[in-house]
Amino acid sequence: MITIDVDHVALLSRLELTAEEKKIYAGQIRAILEYAGLLEELDTENVPPTAHVLPLRNVFREDRVEDHLPLEKAMQNAPDRDGNYFKVPRLV
């Protein structure tokens, strides 16, 4: 049986869950992961992983400055601001 430290995963995901939610999610995720255990049937020792389906390599751009976003556009969705700064609560 797979054990999941739901509290730890929720913290890493920055999600606050109720006790009820934790129980439900833990059960559902466990079921999905157990189903994912199907993959262990396959011997993938010598199989390379596919992180990208296209065989692209060396995609670059030139070091040339282009237009910036005007300040007001950059800030237009800010939930809170102080002049030209985005404002957030204290860190601790």
């Binding site: 990208h52 692209l56 995609v59 670059f60 282009e66 030209n84």
Partner: protein, 479 residues
């Protein structure tokens, strides 16, 4: 023999001075108004994608080569996932298991002893934004965020844990800074944040080969702070062990004002960065031919320049090392030489009076008002006997304050050395006549009396008499 041995490794971040950021074409210029050098990509807006700046790769390879590393044939970017308000995407695009360069070294000299320090790896990553607090991090009621710096390209250089003292660590950092400045990829200014340093430090019983538990020290913003912080931390860790405790593996911040390191343990657990290859960027295959091109185009590096100064200019090893320890100083030195060929003289003035005045004024050589050709000019005046060595010091200080030409200063202040036989004889006569007792002392064998008499002549001539001539004329007259 000390009871404990210190083991230090440094992680240095260097901002590369490309025109644009690593993954978007926003400007990297330092100091713009907040949030004016941004675009959807570096703001991490929904839907944006990174595109790699080729110049960053070139600069990173340059750094790797300058540090004698092996350059990877295949490299990629990975996402380092963590949450912080200066990180718009809450992941940093960095490199995890396939860094651009590995297994290098550099040579550090300390107290005449040269030591090779290993470089574990060099990798590329994007910088985060800047946070502004009202007061300190713990007392501020809110935090302000400026994303101008987000996405500025960095290389992270990790040393092997080969450093054995805070002094050695400082020397390593100074050498690393010089090397990177010489490559031309960064200004390496700690005060502007284009060079940042964190340290991993542990202690262990002398003779032991296992590593002690290390602490990571952050927020050391100058070379001096690095040294002080590491000294403090060594003492702190030893004290913990002596009292029978265990050093906790944690991150500590250097508090400059209080002179202590403080634990940064917060309610966050240990970081699990959950690295994954960035699916928005494709891997890089590094062409060997290109690497060799970059290698052959590498500018002369500090050690090479130092050796050349010894060879070509006959400078002593020590002088050459000091002059080449900063690229700006070495460049300054060479520009002086184009106007005045005596390398040792130039070196003396640069290492001596110039450095003294710069330190007193808390300024870099780049801000020095004395242009190299002006220093050369002054040295020519000295050579020609127009001014004496003592006067030269006065002229030099005046040049430093005002940036005026030496010729102008000498003229304005009437500092031309008096080398006229007759004039000096007259002044000597005057001084001898006024100090008969001292004359007698000299005649009686007291050599020191001569110094007094020379001083008196200088007083009369307001320091302008040619001292060698004064000396010989006095001796002549009192023979």
């Amino acid at each position: 023999m000390a009871k404990y041995e210190t083991v230090i490794g440094l992680e240095v971040h260097v901002e590369l001075k490309t025109l644009t950021k690593i993954f978007c074409p926003s400007s990297t210029t330092f100091g713009g108004d907040p949030n004016t050098h941004v675009c959807p990509v570096c703001l991490g807006l929904p839907g944006v994608l990174p595109v790699m700046n080729k110049k960053v790769l070139e600069y990173a390879i340059r750094v790797g080569l300058a540090l004698n590393c092996q350059i990877a044939a295949f490299s990629k970017f990975d996402r380092k996932n963590y949450y912080y308000p200066d990180l718009p995407k809450n992941y940093q695009i960095s490199q995890y298991d396939l860094p651009i360069a590995e297994h290098g070294h550099l040579n550090v000299e300390l107290d005449g002893v040269e030591k090779r320090v290993g470089i574990t790896r060099v990798h590329m990553e994007e910088d985060a934004g800047k946070l502004v607090h009202q007061g300190t991090i713990s007392t501020t009621p809110y935090t302000l965020v400026d994303y101008n710096r987000t996405g500025v390209p960095l290389v992270e250089i990790v040393s092997d844990p080969d450093l054995r003292s805070p002094e050695e660590a400082r020397a390593y950092l100074e050498k690393l800074k010089a090397i990177i400045q010489y490559t031309g990829v960064s200004d390496c200014k700690m005060e502007e944040g284009s060079l940042r340093c964190d340290a991993n430090i542990s202690v262990r019983p002398a003779g032991s080969t296992t590593l002690g538990t290390k602490a990571e020290i952050k927020n050391m913003n100058s070379f001096k702070a690095l040294q002080r912080a590491l000294h403090y931390e060594v003492e702190r860790q030893i004290e913990v062990l002596e009292e029978g405790g265990r050093v906790v593996q944690e991150t500590r911040t250097w508090d400059e004002a209080k002179g202590v390191t403080l634990s940064m343990r917060s309610k966050e657990h240990a970081h699990d960065y959950r690295y994954l290859p960035d699916p928005d960027l494709v891997p890089m295959v590094i062409d060997r031919g290109w690497v060799e091109e970059i290698r052959s185009a590498l500018p002369e590096l500090p050690d090479q320049r130092k050796d050349r100064y010894v060879r070509e200019y006959g400078l002593p090893e020590y002088d050459a090392a000091v002059i080449t320890s900063s690229k700006e100083m070495a460049d300054y030195f060479e520009r002086c030489l184009s106007g005045y060929a005596n390398a040792k003289s130039v070196s003396n003035w640069v290492m001596g009076d110039l450095t003294r005045l710069l330190n007193a004024g808390g300024m870099e050589i780049t801000r020095c008002r004395i242009a190299p050709d002006q220093l050369a000019g002054m040295l020519r005046l000295l050579d020609s006997g127009t001014i004496s060595g003592k006067i030269a010091k006065t002229v030099f200080e005046e040049m430093f304050e005002t940036g005026k030409d030496p010729d102008s200063i000498v003229k304005e202040k009437g500092l031309v050395q008096i080398s006229d036989q007759g004039a000096i004889e007259a002044a000597v006569d005057q001084a001898l006549a006024a100090n008969p007792k001292v004359v007698e002392d000299f005649r009686a064998g007291k050599e020191k009396a001569l110094g007094f008499l020379v001083g008196q002549v200088m007083k009369v001539t307001r320091g302008k008499a040619n001292p060698e001539m004064v000396n010989s004329i006095i001796r002549e007259k009192l023979r």
